[in-house]
């Protein structure tokens, strides 16, 4: 690795802060290239990126609360009143 490349290289500590911008497509082409170059040589940061993706997926899988029958009935009763009023 040349001295210049070392100087410009993304370190792990920076890489973890770039993950969201990377996933959001908010990095410049140059930043993106350097981020990906870092990932290519760093299994820990690659694992970190995988974990972030899994984390995002995990939030998507949280079961939505379901509405109780009583709460639904209350709302329907209100609906009738609102429609009349």
């Amino acid at each position: 690795m040349s001295r210049r490349a070392t100087k410009d290289a993304v370190m792990c500590r920076q890489a973890v802060e770039l993950v969201t911008d990377y996933l959001e497509g908010a990095l410049t082409a140059d930043q993106r290239a350097r981020f990906e170059a870092h990932l290519a040589g760093c299994p820990h940061c690659s694992e970190y990126l995988r974990e972030m993706r899994v984390t995002i997926a995990a939030v998507g899988r949280v079961a939505p609360e379901s509405l109780s029958a009583a709460a639904r009935d209350d709302l329907v009763a209100l609906y009738r009143r609102w429609r009349e009023g």
């Binding site: 500590r13 920076q14 820990h44 694992e47 974990e51 899994v54 995990a58 939030v59 709302l75 609906y79």
Partner: protein, 202 residues
Amino acid sequence: MADDSELVARLQAGDEQAFVILVDLYHAPLLRLASTFVPSRAVAEEVVQDTWLGVVRGIERFEGRSSLKTWLFRIVVNRARTAGVRERRETPSDRADLSTFAEPAVAPERFNSAGGWSSPPTPWADDAEERIVARQTAQKVARHLALLPDRQRQVVVMRDFEGLPAVEVCALLGISEANQRVLLHRGRSRLRTMLERELGRG
């Protein structure tokens, strides 16, 4: 989206069954979102009830320029904000959430002085898929989500749970795209750390 127009037409015609469908779909998400703006569940419930009244009164004027979901979220956010101010929950965390150096994604002591990992993440992502589907893990994620600072939770819930696009979240919360990304990043990073503690072996 395709279903929206039919549902909207039925709502506009005063179809009670359509209202029930809407309530089933959105009451829980609206409650969850409202809860991030106000201090108690009771106030959040008032806000959501008030939102449904707003929907019944306002559906006539809904023109489908946004999705029905975005429209509902906009109503609830506006009302929850007003209620939040009334209940004096001017969150100090609003500012803290966005202060520039407040919150690294990973604790600084896990890096060496050169900025490389000294304590790298324990690998768990590869076999996490199955465990994430498990009810127990889902409950843990839900609990951790509830522990995020308000602004981070609002953004993570809208983006990663409700699946709203970034631009809609920015509009709903009145924040810039850059700030939205900061909040998303901090919220997701915290959740990852929590999952690492729960799932990481080591």
